[in-house]
């Protein structure tokens, strides 16, 4: 097995990407887009007439000074955005990938780039929910991108023209870094966005699975998706092959309030576990004192219980409630709230909580959801109880919809619009309001216009995804007087829970990212061996299972003719002939064509031991074959060959030594007699 980490990603929106070589099959795990890199582009100006022309008459000296001063919105690239894919993936020949596993909708966003490739022929697996939500997200991305296309006009060049002004001295380092990468070789990873047709043809190639559904690839690998709890439909993978089992565990959430919990019981006892939870590194909280050593003796149930404590999930609920209360406060003060979060589970929970809290208060604030896919996505999420957490499944049993938004949409408390210029939007528009609008990068979609509208209003509130405000995200909107709330929601396994998880799952070999191995001491674990892997390096793991198992069909096994050995009584040997098949990940021997003949009296083909010439002659004499023995010594005087000259019934000769026996005659019957005699002395098969 070989693992190459192509990218360790960056948080929830940019999951890690790996290439795995297992039993000779090349498996790509996830194919994400680095959407944070979009922030190098400047958003579409709200009012072209005034802003675009007013700022162009800066002289070069002023530009130069920018190096020392802060960056201005002008530094951003004003062009139709390109999209940054995983760089290292371009180094692999697309036609040599056998399997693509997609763990969550974020990991799907870059897949159309790969499936566009004319020689791409891999089998793609993902859960049904991931396929549906991911497709909606891609369609939304394409439709948001259309605005740029309309603004900048058609550009057919396959060369990213927008980069030509970026290598100048005066260009800020942050920008250069994002475009060209730290080593300056990232340029090749920028791609023009795919089209709706590309998305469609990509999705046609997908085989959607359910949680815990076993799919068999090529009769050899059994692949199974197990819930990871990260978001609706997100999963970890379990792969069983003839050479052992492998689990791939990425960012997971133990207790979720929307999706099905992290199904870790199904991952127990695998031969290899690849741990790829990078998001725990973003929140630095692990301290030296965190005690992990005492856990090794605890029972499995108690370990599991300690993983499933709801402290984390309560914390998440508190965060959500806090966002709601902030929104309510702003509304009280007459300000609007713009929520740019696009994590499906979080949005659904926020919608539910917001509507509830507005319902119970005296405030009359409308909620708008503006997205080209809002209607379909919200309708879809109420038809998938199988993919949700248990509390929401209970709702199905009692006949309530899984998420509360349905009722509010009917009561006209939540309004859904496909775009900001939708005809009905203006008639129902009313401020203050609460708006859910993509995109979280603040470069695409209705959030841009709304942000430009409200940025000067100190009463309004902007709710952001984690990490966007620290970079270039807010640059084009400065100065900004809106209140800003940046939310970091749980998006993986906390570092201090990792040792407990590992002692529960007990894989034989664990592969952890080097960055995690540096942060936490895992050497006390029960696991046999811990290997660390790094980005863009290939880590090879030797074979784990000693010998591969082969299953012999019972009908075949009963037909075998066993030979007892004279020399070794504990052993039994039998010739085995059959058809070797590989099915459902198992190697099997089933009855073949020439089974019948071989099971009868087959000739002994292999012998072992040695023949004493005297004994051989003795048994030959019994068969009325007579002859004489001549011993020959080799040059060193040691016992060498012996030769038996046969005189009767016909001429012949037997040469015998430690190594073997040669029968020299042209008489077939004599040869078979000698052969029979040897058979009677030596063990063989």
């Amino acid at each position: 097995m070989e693992l190459t980490c192509l990218s360790k990603g960056d948080g929830f929106h940019y999951p890690p990407c790996h290439m795995l070589n297992l039993s000779g099959f090349r498996i790509l795990i996830d194919c994400p887009l680095d959407l944070l890199a979009l922030t190098i582009f400047s958003p579409l100006p709200c009012d072209v007439g005034i802003e675009a022309y007013g700022q162009n008459d800066q002289n070069p000296i002023q530009k130069k000074q920018k190096l020392e001063r802060q960056m201005t919105p002008d530094d951003l690239v004003c062009a139709e955005p390109w999209y940054k894919t995983v760089k290292a993936l371009h180094l692999w020949e697309a036609s040599l990938i056998d399997i693509v596993l997609i763990s969550n909708p974020m990991g799907l966003l870059g897949l159309p780039f790969l499936t566009q490739h004319p020689r791409f022929c891999a089998k793609i697996y993902m859960t049904e929910a991931t396929a549906k939500i991911g497709q909606l997200m891609m369609e939304d991305l394409v439709s948001m991108h259309m605005e740029f296309k309309r603004f900048h006009g058609p550009e057919d060049s396959s060369f990213p023209c927008w980069t030509k002004n970026l290598d100048g001295e005066e260009v800020p380092g942050v920008l250069k870094n994002l475009v060209f990468g730290e080593n300056g070789d990232d340029l090749g990873s920028w791609m023009r966005l795919y089209s709706l047709d590309d998305v469609k043809s990509c999705m046609k190639k997908v085989q959607a699975v359910k949680f815990s559904e076993e799919v068999c690839y090529n009769g050899t690998l059994i692949i199974k998706a197990l819930s990871s709890g990260l978001d609706i439909g997100a999963c970890n993978w379990l792969i069983n092959g003839p050479n052992g089992s492998l689990s791939y565990v990425s960012d997971s959430i133990f207790v979720s309030h929307h999706s099905k919990f992290f199904d870790f019981h199904g991952l127990k006892g695998t031969d290899v576990m690849i741990y790829s939870g990078f998001s725990c590194l973003q929140t630095a909280e692990m301290t030296e004192n965190d005690c992990i050593s005492t856990m090794s003796d605890k029972k499995d149930e108690r370990l599991a219980a300690s993983l499933l404590d709801n402290e984390e999930s309560l914390g998440e609920l508190e965060k959500l409630a806090f966002v709601c209360s902030c929104a309510a406060e702003s509304a009280d003060a007459g300000g609007s709230t713009l929520i740019t979060i696009t994590r499906v589970g979080i949005v659904l929970q926020l919608l539910e909580l917001m509507s509830d809290s507005i319902e119970s208060s005296s405030l009359k604030v409308p909620i708008f959801v503006i997205s080209s896919v809002a209607e379909e996505l919200l309708a879809y999420t109420n038809t998938i109880p199988e993919w949700l957490c248990e509390q929401r499944q209970e709702k199905l049993i009692s006949g309530e919809p899984s998420f509360g938004h349905l009722k509010f949409i009917k009561d006209k408390k939540i309004h859904l619009f496909p775009a900001i210029h939708s005809p009905n939007l203006i008639t129902s528009w009313q401020e203050p309001c609460i708006v859910f609008a993509p995109h979280w990068s603040l470069r695409l979609g209705p959030s841009v216009q709304l942000l430009q509208r409200w940025r000067g209003d100190p009463r309004s509130l902007l709710v952001l995804e984690d990490g966007i405000s620290s970079g270039l995200g807010l640059l084009p909107f400065r100065p900004i007087s809106m209140k800003i709330l940046q939310c970091s929601f749980l998006s993986g396994i906390r570092l201090q829970k990792l040792p407990t998880l590992l002692s529960l799952l007990q894989p034989k070999i664990v592969l952890v990212p080097d960055v995690i191995n540096q942060r936490i001491n895992l050497s006390t674990m029960k696991t046999k061996s811990i290997l660390s892997y790094s980005e863009n390096k290939t880590l090879s793991v030797g074979r784990i299972a000693e010998n591969a198992d082969v299953e012999i069909m019972a009908e075949l096994a009963t037909k075998l003719s066993w030979k007892k050995l004279r020399q070794r009584e504990n052993f039994g040997v039998a010739r085995l002939k059959g058809d070797f098949v590989m099915e459902n990940g198992k190697q099997r021997l089933v009855s073949g064509l020439d089974q019948e003949e071989s099971s009868g009296k087959a000739r002994t083909l292999r012998h072992w031991g040695s023949v004493a010439p005297e004994t051989l002659l003795e048994s030959l004499v019994k068969m009325s074959v007579t002859g004489s023995i001549e011993h020959r010594r080799d040059e060193n005087g040691a016992e060498g060959k012996s030769i038996i000259y046969i005189t009767d019934p016909s001429g012949g000769m037997i040469e015998t030594s430690e190594m073997g026996t040669t029968i020299i005659t042209d008489d077939e019957t004599l040869a078979s007699k000698i052969f029979q005699a040897i058979d009677g002395i030596l063990d063989g098969i």
Partner: protein
């Protein structure tokens, strides 16, 4: 190892489905139904056969319910709450959501309206449903270390599944009720090609073969349309879930198209409530519905209204869906009592009616009066229309499924004995699969597949995975066949796992030294005419390929030739030890010194004899 299939219910009959299958020692119960046509103790399966002491927890590994019909789930609260079974119960998400509705509805009808003694209470239903573990399609569940179960789409009603169960190497499928054709709101049954030892199939329509459903749909719509156009009332007694939705979709569509304003009613809140579940469980419906639901949920019926008791005698035409089906009790029967005497009215009976119900009486023959359960008689002057869309597969469907799965054995349940027998004959004669039709209380035993497990050496596996292509020129085209056979040696040592090795490795495994037994002979060959050594080898090789049948590939080089393990080279020695009898005096005689292994014994003799003839 064997598989035992004990039929507790629905053996040679329809009703109270319950089959207990023992696979390699694990007992699995499929369905736990109630007989709708029985009032006495016979309505439940006879659980006492399973365990005299009533300790079902240790007898049964798990219980799986295939769908929410009463004849499949009806006895569940009784079995878990009254008999005390506490083990795991599995059913699909829709079945888990809808079964309590069905059970509660049935309980109410039985207790409130027919005045029977309570068999189980509402609390029983609730606590029983709490034990249920929901299943998703194709989700593979490891019940315990050995037992694995998986559900497949059966299409019979919303959430109906076929169940695959596997213990060790033995596997079976229990189909429950299924439908092999798509209808308006449900898809057709869908299952993988599995290796099965036993298939337990329903056989409700074991001898019927249905044509297209469209003429039947048209007939039904015309009958209802004619009735309401003539000012009559159409009564459609059906269960709240299943056919009600199917027919309602059909009628709702037709009403839209024909612009009919006659009201369509649903008798109970149950159906309305059920429609809500249907809206949430879109993923279990047909492809058509799934695609449409974003823009318009097909279970939002435009022309359907709630029915009130006072409307029974209201003038004017209407269509009424009333529960329960089969006219076995309850509201539908009450409405029937009032509407049956008018010749304007229509009773359309969808689906199957169990013997003993009023529905069954109406279907069999044309009665002018019908006895109701409490002894009152009703004149039947209304029209009777039998709606022949059943969500059950027809005989062709059963045959198709059996052919597709090709199980080693098949057991038929859930059908009427005479037609089951004729289907059995058909299966045994056409497909050659042993088929059984056990009655209630009978057990069928079949053998199960087992595999012997062994470790295989790398060399063996490597040789197994090398293809062994054979090319043959048949009259017009080149045929390539892979004739590889795995050829190895199985070695067992006391108290150790068996090992498969290549024959070259045997001695190593046994800690012995190889002893090669071979044959040798320095054979005289005659030189024909003037030719050098190379020419002689050529001549010989031609001769060999002409006369020796199994010598396909002869390699020649200079003064040597090789066929398989047979090696021959021109002998230059004056006195070769391998030469017997003939002296090298004759100058025209050359010698080929030959050596071959035991494996090619016949080949070697063949070549020697061929060369001798040449002398």
């Amino acid at each position: 190892m064997a598989i035992d299939c004990l039929v507790l219910g629905a053996g040679q009959e329809i009703g109270k489905s319950c089959v207990v299958v023992t696979i390699n020692g694990k007992k699995i119960m499929f369905d736990c139904g109630m007989h709708m046509g029985c009032d006495d103790h016979n309505r439940y399966p006879d659980f006492s056969i399973l365990s005299k002491s009533g300790d079902f927890d240790n007898t049964i590994s798990c219980l799986i319910i295939t769908h929410f019909h009463m004849d499949h789930v009806g006895a569940l609260p009784y079995f878990t709450e009254v008999c005390g079974y506490n083990g795991p119960v599995y059913m699909s998400y829709p079945t888990k959501a809808l079964s309590p509705l069905m059970l509660e509805d049935y309980r109410r009808i039985m207790v409130d309206r027919r005045g029977e003694e309570e068999l189980f209470t509402s609390a029983h239903i609730a606590s029983c449903m709490n034990k249920v573990i929901p299943l998703d399609l194709k989700q593979t569940i490891q019940v315990d270390e050995d037992l694995q179960i998986r559900a497949y789409y059966a299409g019979h009603v919303l959430g109906a599944v076929m169940v695959y169960a596997k213990v060790g190497d033995a596997a079976i499928v229990y189909t429950g009720d299924y439908n092999m054709t798509t209808d308006r709101h449900l898809g057709a049954a869908k299952i993988d090609r599995l290796q099965l030892d036993l298939l337990i199939s329903e056989s409700t329509y074991a001898t019927t073969t249905r044509g297209s459903k469209y003429p039947r749909e048209r007939e039904f719509l015309q009958a209802v349309h004619k009735c309401v156009a003539g000012g009559g009332k159409a009564l459609i007694p059906s269960f709240a879930l299943g056919r009600a939705q199917e027919l309602c979709m059909l009628l709702d569509d037709y009403w839209e198209r024909m612009n009919i304003k006659v009201p369509i009613y649903f008798s109970s809140g149950l159906t309305i409530q059920a429609n809500m579940y249907y809206k949430m469980l879109i993923s279990w419906t047909s492809q058509n519905v799934k695609e449409k639901h974003v823009t318009h949920n097909p279970f939002d019926f435009k022309n359907v209204k709630d029915f009130y008791r006072s409307l029974i005698h209201a003038p004017g035409p209407c269509v009424l869906f009333a529960t329960p089906g089969m006219l076995c009790a309850g509201f539908s029967l009450e409405v029937f009592k009032h509407w049956a005497p008018s010749p304007l009215n229509l009773v359309a009976l969808p689906g199957y009616s169990v013997a003993g119900t009023v529905g069954h009486k109406l279907m069999s023959g044309k009665p002018t009066t019908v006895d109701l359960y409490n002894g009152t008689k009703v004149d039947v002057r209304c029209k009777i229309h039998q709606v022949a869309f059943s969500p059950h597969t027809d005989a062709k469907g059963i045959m198709d499924l059996t052919k597709f799965l090709s199980p080693k054995n098949i057991v038929l349940v859930h059908g009427e004995k005479p037609s089951m027998m004729s289907l059995k004959d058909k299966i045994t004669s056409e497909l050659g699969i042993p088929c059984f039709v056990p009655a209630n209380g009978e057990t069928v035993s079949v053998a199960s597949t087992t595999f012997v497990k062994a470790n295989a050496s790398d060399m063996f596996l490597k040789i197994c995975s090398n293809p062994n292509f054979r090319f043959s020129n048949s009259s017009t085209q080149l045929r390539v066949t892979d004739q590889r056979t795995a050829d190895g040696v199985l070695v067992i040592e006391k108290s150790k796992k068996a090992k498969i090795v290549h024959q070259d490795e045997v001695s190593e495994v046994l800690h012995e030294k190889d002893h090669v037994v071979s044959l040798a002979y320095c054979c005289p060959v005659k030189v024909k005419g003037e030719s050098d050594d190379v020419g002689l080898i050529k001549q010989l090789s031609e001769k060999i390929s002409e006369t020796v049948s199994c010598a396909d590939e002869i390699h020649e080089s200079e003064t040597c030739l090789q066929v398989g393990s047979f090696k021959g080279s021109l002998c230059l020695k004056e006195e070769c030890v391998h030469r017997r009898g003939i002296s090298s005096s004759c100058s025209e005689v050359k010698f080929l010194c030959c050596n071959w292994s035991v494996a090619d014994l016949e080949l070697g003799w063949g070549i020697i004899n061929a060369m001798k003839q040449n002398l």
